[in-house]
C-alpha cells in the first residue's frame, strides 16, 4: 500500500501538466499512473498544432493562455532540449460565403481578448502560403502567433520538471478500480498495487469515461478515431499550418521537415479504435492535391490513428464533481487537449487547492451539460 496525497490517472499531456503545476505549488506525494508510458495515448498521436483561432470565447481564452506558456516553456521547466515551438501561424481557409461570415464573427471574438488574428483575401493568403491553389478557397483567417509544439518533447519537459519536484510515476500499470466509501475516495487499485488516497485526477484521455464509470460519475464524452499521416521530410516550404473545416483538412510542416496531415472521419463510430484505413489515405490525398498541389508531390511514409475524446459542445471539461469531493476531471478536449494542456494544469491546481478561480473557468464545469440547452458550441474543428 502506497499513501498518496493525490493520484493522477494518465501520463498524457494533461496529467503531466497537472502533476507539474501541483508540485510547483507545494503539493507533496503526487502519484501519476499510466497503463503504458508518457504520451502513449492521444498526446503522442496528435497533430502537434497549437492555435488560438476558435469560435467560442472560452476556447480562445484557454488557447491564448496556453500559447503564452509555450513561449517560455523551455526556460520555466528548465528543459535542456527544445520543445520545438514554432510560431509561424495558422491559415484557415474558408470555402463559402457562409463560412466567411462565421470567420468574421470568430475573428471578432478572438480580437476581443487580444488574439492577433485577421481576415485575409485570397491574394493576401497567397502571400502567406504561395503554393495554395487559389481556386480552392474564397478567403482565410490568419493568426501569426499560432503554430506548432513537439508533443513528445513538450511532454518530456513536463515529465522531467515534475520528477525533479518529487512526483512519483508508475508506468505500465493499469487502474482497475477506485474504491469509494460514503462519497469519499479511499483507494486506487491497479494491477500491481493499491494506492491509498482521497484525491484522484481523471486525465485518462480516450479512456476518461471508463475512469468516471469506476466512481459512478457519468461523463458525457466518447472517443473516436482520427487518422493522420506523415510525409518524408523536405526543405522548409510551408511556414503556417493550413487548415479548412469545410474541406476537412489540417496540414502543417513541422520543424523536422515532414508534413503532418489529418482529417476527421464523419462516419467514425464511438469506440477506442485507432487503426489505419485506406479510405483515409485516399480521401486525404485528394484533398491535399486539391488545396496544396505542391505538397501532393511528397511521399507518405506512415499513417496512424488516435482518439479524440469528444464532449457534447466540443469544449473541454475541467471540473470537480458535486457529491464526490476529491474527484477531478480533465477530458472531452475534442481533439485539442495537447494545445490546452498548460492552462489545464493551472486551472486544476487552483481547483484542487481551493484557490480562487477566474470567472471563465465556470463554463468548464461538467454541470453545464445538465442544462439541456447548450449555449455555446465550438464549430471550428476538424
Amino acid at each position: 500500500m502506497i499513501k498518496a496525497d493525490i493520484v493522477i490517472i494518465g501520463a498524457g499531456i494533461s496529467g503531466l501538466s497537472t502533476a507539474y503545476n501541483l508540485a510547483k505549488n507545494g503539493v507533496k506525494n503526487i502519484v501519476v499512473i499510466d497503463e503504458l508510458f508518457i504520451t502513449s495515448g492521444s498526446t503522442g498521436r496528435c497533430g502537434a498544432g497549437v492555435r488560438q483561432q476558435w469560435g467560442t470565447k472560452l476556447n480562445c481564452i484557454l488557447a491564448k493562455k496556453s500559447i503564452e506558456f509555450f513561449m517560455t516553456a523551455n526556460e520555466v521547466l528548465g528543459y535542456k532540449k527544445d520543445i520545438e515551438f514554432k510560431q509561424e501561424g495558422y491559415l484557415i481557409l474558408s470555402t463559402s460565403k457562409e463560412e466567411d461570415e462565421v470567420f468574421k464573427k470568430n475573428v471578432a471574438v478572438q480580437n476581443s481578448i487580444g488574439i492577433p488574428s485577421k481576415l485575409l483575401s485570397v491574394e493576401e493568403a497567397l502571400k502567406v502560403v504561395p503554393h495554395l491553389n487559389p481556386k480552392a478557397f474564397t478567403s482565410a483567417s490568419f493568426c501569426k502567433t499560432d503554430g506548432h509544439v513537439n508533443p513528445f518533447l513538450m511532454s518530456e519537459a513536463y515529465y522531467k520538471a515534475a520528477k525533479n519536484l518529487g512526483v512519483d510515476f508508475y508506468f505500465y500499470e493499469k487502474v482497475l478500480e477506485i474504491k469509494v466509501n460514503n462519497n469519499r475516495i479511499e483507494e486506487v487499485i491497479t494491477d500491481k498495487r493499491v494506492f491509498e488516497t482521497n484525491k484522484v485526477v481523471n486525465a485518462a484521455g480516450g479512456f476518461a469515461k471508463e475512469i468516471g464509470d469506476m466512481v459512478g460519475v457519468e461523463i458525457p464524452v466518447f472517443s473516436e478515431n482520427h487518422e493522420i499521416l506523415v510525409t518524408e521530410p523536405t526543405t522548409n516550404i510551408q511556414g503556417p499550418m493550413v487548415m479548412s473545416f469545410s474541406k476537412n483538412i489540417y496540414c502543417q510542416q513541422v520543424p523536422h521537415g515532414s508534413f503532418l496531415i489529418g482529417r476527421s472521419n464523419p462516419d467514425a463510430l464511438p469506440n477506442h479504435d485507432i487503426s489505419s484505413s485506406w479510405q483515409f489515405l485516399d480521401e486525404m490525398a485528394k484533398t491535399v492535391c486539391d488545396i496544396l498541389p505542391k505538397v501532393g508531390k511528397l511521399r507518405v511514409i506512415r499513417t496512424w490513428g488516435g482518439s479524440y475524446n469528444n464532449s457534447p459542445d466540443h469544449q473541454p471539461i475541467i471540473s470537480d464533481i458535486e457529491g464526490l469531493p476529491g474527484f477531478y476531471i480533465a477530458c472531452g478536449y475534442s481533439g485539442h487537449g495537447f494545445m490546452f494542456a498548460p492552462i489545464t494544469g493551472e486551472i486544476l491546481t487552483q481547483m484542487i487547492l481551493n484557490k480562487p478561480l477566474e470567472d471563465y473557468t465556470k463554463e468548464l464545469h461538467i454541470n453545464r451539460f445538465n442544462n439541456k440547452e447548450i449555449t455555446d458550441f465550438e464549430k471550428s474543428v476538424v
Binding site: G44, E156, D282, G296, I301
Partner: protein, 91 residues
Amino acid sequence: MNKKDIIICRCEDVTLEDVHNCLKDGYTTFEELKRILRVGMGPCQGQTCSILVQREIAKFLGKKIEDVKTHKTRPLITGVVLEDIAGNDND
C-alpha cells in the same frame, strides 16, 4: 569506434550514444525511444534500426533479444507519393 560515430537510425541520424543516453534516462522500450529520439520514424520506418535498437535494449536490460518488443508497424510499407494515391493525373 566512438559511440558518437555509430549510426543506429540512418533516416533520423540517431547514434548509439543517443540510444544509450535515452536508455539511461529510463526509456526502455522501442515505442518510448521512438517518441524521444525519432528512431524508426523516418522513410524506412524502422526496417534498418529496429533490430539494432532491440539488441541495445536487450543488452541494457539483461534480457534475451526475443523478449524485447520491436516497434509497432503501420501502413505504408514503402513511401508513396500523395498525388499517385489521389490519382491526380488529370485523366
